[in-house]
Point group: C2
Chain length 237, copies 2
């Protein structure tokens, strides 16, 4: 029987929260809206990011971080559209902030230090574990694809409770699957009443314009609050 | 600064493996094939179990354990077809053997001690974490639904590597989604060459008969090996 002694007393969760807040604030100061996409495997995160990049990359400076257990298949799809760094967890079921910080540093190196307008992170496909980790994002978006079924919010509540927007994806499949959009939204809003909701199909293009407008509006709001924050600081100094 | 002392030295993983092996052997001795379904959220585990129960319950004594983070929505769908116990993890991303043992005991109590021919467990919808836990099953089945995309095996290898059968679900959606059945099977077999593969649609009924035949054949095989094991033991004694 071996004995080891472990010193406790540091509040690691508070340290992790502070580090995520610092990352969030750094992005805000650089004018970057940091958007995180969360969902089950195969709900359409990569396809939505492809459609988003196609629409926004002319007017906005975009970058993408992509989390996966194994392979760089998603990064290969996104790299032609925007600077992309793949984060491969090697078995781990979620991303943590240090992985994001490390990948973000790789993103900046080749392109110089020019800040991005929009930074996306596609999380590992997992509707459970990632929701417990703050990656320093400004906007957490939960995707629910129509073939998954409209009963999922109540069954996986944390991912919905901690998100600010719900995007129902693959609406082109609605004629072929038993999915009630109103029921899914009502179920999600029982968990998180403030959820902004949208329906999209990356296949048909439905909803991509309102989705991109939401992103642009959120970035404008971020810049305005950063600006007014600076004015307040100036006034009080 | 507080200090606590933790005694180490027990091989907990070996203890967990032994407990899973014991549960597996107990089921085998009772003539019960224990089948576990693993997949992403919304891949069709409950629908497949419904279709299976409709077909097999006349000739076989079935029971179902259903794992979910929250709600008993799946158990409500299955309870009219077979004795069902819901396991709600309350946030936990996977099931562990003690939860299964506890639920199994509840299943036996009201129905008496009569052993089941087939015991199913529907795991929490999560393509990552559950694959690391042995629940004492005889047959682990990984479900991949066509809308999830044919690139998933390589991205979530452990769930495919540790399974004995791959069931591609929602084949009724094949005309509407970019999914290549051959590519998905080839990707999965690169990870686990021994995977038995099947295509099903609980919606149209396609593939349900071969799936049920697979289950019946596996149970026959289990009983035969148990029988021959007993003969061998008799001969050597």
């Amino acid at each position: 029987m071996t004995e080891i002694t472990i010193p406790v007393g540091r509040d690691l969760r508070a340290e992790m929260r502070a580090a995520a807040d610092a990352f969030r604030m750094e992005r805000e100061l650089q004018g970057t809206l940091f958007v995180r996409l969360l969902s089950s495997p195969g709900a359409g995160k990569t396809s939505l990011l492809q459609a988003t990049a196609v629409r926004l990359r002319k007017d906005y400076n975009l970058a993408v971080l992509v989390g996966d257990i194994e392979t760089d298949r998603d990064a290969q799809r996104l790299a032609p559209l925007a600077p992309t760094v793949q984060i491969t967890t090697g078995g781990c079921c979620h991303l943590e902030l240090p992985m994001v910080q490390h990948a973000f540093a790789q993103l900046l190196c080749p392109a110089g230090a020019k800040p991005f307008d929009l930074l996306f992170i596609e999380d590992v496909g997992n509707l459970v574990c990632p929701a417990s980790y703050d990656l320093g994002e400004h906007l957490r978006v939960i995707l629910l694809s129509t073939p998954e079924g409209d009963d999922k919010p109540g069954k996986y509540p944390k991912a919905f409770r901690t998100s600010q927007a719900l995007v129902i994806t693959k609406t082109d499949l609605l004629p072929f699957v038993p999915f009630n959009v109103e029921a899914a939204i009502a179920d999600a809003r029982r968990i998180q009443p403030l959820l902004q909701t949208l329906c999209v199909s990356a296949q048909s293009g439905e909803g991509i314009v309102p989705w991109c407008e939401l992103l642009v509006a959120r970035r404008r709001h971020l810049l305005a609050s950063e600006e007014s924050g600076r004015i307040e600081m100036n006034e009080s100094s």
